[in-house]
Symmetry: C2
Subunit: 354 residues, 2 copies
């Protein structure tokens, strides 16, 4: 978050000066709270400076990923609540590099808007900061762009970029996955950041609900849709380097169907038992109300599984206990088989719905 860039954008926005300075002051304090001694630059320099502490690394490899929040932003706009999408973005990026065994070093954000409002911007940055702190990652820089006529007033685009590090001997690339390995599914907190176009169509257009309407399990539709994408870093970091951990797949857009194959070596397939975990109610209601078939559900939505660990079968109990200690109820959802490719589904999760 370059102070001047933020300042420039603010000034251009014609935000009231007091509000602007209050907002800038808040943002500076927030962002600095993510810094540790690895950060050498203060706010306002052209680029952020980061000297990674690589003590003990044999062959450090940088791992990097870029992502956006997608149309979940539209729900934030409908609910008038931008406090959670920053958390979504950081946690999504953290998981994307975690699956290769990396821990995060630093994060940068980009906010695009039709008109920058100080309060909204503080909310967005606050979410980024909270998640960066939780994941031990510095919010090293950022850019705020006001582009009237490109974005509608009230719309905010949010893009993130993460850099982490993994020691090459501990790099997870799927090459250790073998037949007989188990798939351990880790529960998501909700939809995470996937399938919001279809979810909105079904819930708001087809079913006629609003973000203020009550959700049958408690809270509102807006609240359940805005639950932040979960970071699996704290639960999994103690298992990185464990010989029994053969692979990790972050389940995002494309669901289990598209994301599991990304880590499978040639000649192996994943067999997933759809009856092995309870798909959360929100997904089942979307399928029911939208008349969405199971194959489409499994490609558009994560169906309650945010991360899949591929593990040696003898370590399953130990891993499940470890994860329980981090509040995650993990379930064996399938197995690796020789032959074929991609994902084979057994049974159905939706059979008992009607």
């Amino acid at each position: 978050v370059k102070e001047r860039e933020r300042g420039g954008a603010y000034a251009a926005a014609g935000v009231d000066i007091d509000e602007q300075e209050r907002g800038l002051g808040q943002i500076k304090t927030l962002v600095r709270s993510t810094f540790d001694r690895q950060v050498l630059s203060d706010l306002g320099s052209f680029g952020g400076l980061f000297r990674p502490d690589l003590t003990g690394y044999v062959e450090p490899v940088l791992v990097s990923s870029a992502d956006g929040v997608g149309t979940k932003l539209r729900v934030a706009q409908m609910a008038g609540d931008y406090s959670t999408v920053g958390v979504d973005l950081v946690n999504h990026c953290v998981n994307d590099i975690l699956v290769q065994g990396a821990r995060p070093l630093f994060f940068l954000d980009y906010v695009g808007a039709g008109k920058l409002e100080a309060e909204r911007l503080v909310q967005l940055v606050e979410g980024l900061v909270v998640a960066c702190r939780e994941n031990g990652c510095a919010l090293l820089g950022g850019e705020t762009a006001e582009m009237p006529g490109f974005y509608r007033v009230g719309d905010y685009e949010l893009v993130g970029f993460i850099v982490g590090v993994v020691d090459r001997p501990r790099l997870l690339d799927g090459s250790r996955i073998e037949p007989g390995d188990l798939l351990l599914g880790l529960p998501s907190s909700g939809l995470h950041t996937n399938g919001y176009s279809l979810a909105r169509r079904v819930l708001f257009e087809r079913r006629g609900l609003t973000v203020e309407d009550a959700w049958e399990e408690g809270g509102t539709i807006g609240e359940i849709l805005l639950r932040p994408h979960r970071s699996y870093l704290r639960a999994l970091e103690g298992l990185l380097g464990h010989a029994g951990l053969h692979g990790l797949a972050h389940i995002t857009g494309g669901g289990l169907t598209d994301n599991l194959p990304r880590i499978l070596p040639p000649g192996l397939r994943a067999e997933v038992d759809l009856g092995s975990w309870r798909v959360p109610l929100l997904f089942r209601r979307i399928a029911e109300w939208g008349g969405v078939g199971e194959a489409e559900m499994l490609r558009v939505f994560i169906q309650g599984v945010g991360m899949v660990m591929v593990i040696g079968p003898s370590d399953a109990d130990a891993f499940v206990r470890h994860l329980a200690g981090h509040g995650l109820e993990a379930t064996v959802v399938g197995v690796i088989q020789a032959g074929g490719s991609g994902v084979n589904y057994l049974g159905s999760a939706l059979g008992g719905l009607a």
Copy 2:
């Protein structure tokens, strides 16, 4: 550029399958052409893997920056030409870390669109790839998001992130700048990526021009407005570590007025002689046709100066000769003075216009 992410977005776009596969194939080939042996991952993995070759570095420091192209994108859209904005983005980011003495390692992009068109996406990526190759930087990853209803059909948002490295003893942070140092201005190629909202208002709304209209120096208005942001890496990399180079300022949004002070130590000011360089005609016409005062011009536009070097006075001739060898005609535009802060302007560049 994660192959699957691109593929997913393509599929969602409902792009014709043949066109889609042709586009994806082209993009994969293009992106791979930026890889060297420091890149360990192939396309399709969750995060990009990069093992920097840091032979000879005493204390490597990572330098990172995020940026967008801003409303120059609107001109690309008007001209139906997205081949140059990718170059803009990479070169802008390269300059942003170059001013701290860093050379680029890798780059990631984000493309947001209302509807992804294969041809446009290839054009965008082609620009990124050309500039990454010219700057010796890997296009390590990327994300493509189709967000209908958020972006208009035909609109493309383009965001970039760069990571580079500098050896700490060679870090440029402005601390070596002292009174008597000279400011050496390096010519821009045009507006670079700054001031497009005002430029469009003056040229298109006030003056009634279109991108197809002829520009008085040759070519069209669209062509001169879309000239890519210049990278100063190749011209300056041979000077990094030179004892006479005390500071570098990338002149971007905010112009000389806001960007020079970013590197000045407390108690020093920059005195800039506005008669010392010839402001290119495009800037002068915008001032004339728009009735834009000089102070505003100097804050909104870069006025033909894309980079300022702060140098010891005895090295000026050698630096000017070195830059001439790279095709850059550098000019002494000012001097560092003790006392005060910010930029003092002497004379006027616009005096002789009428």
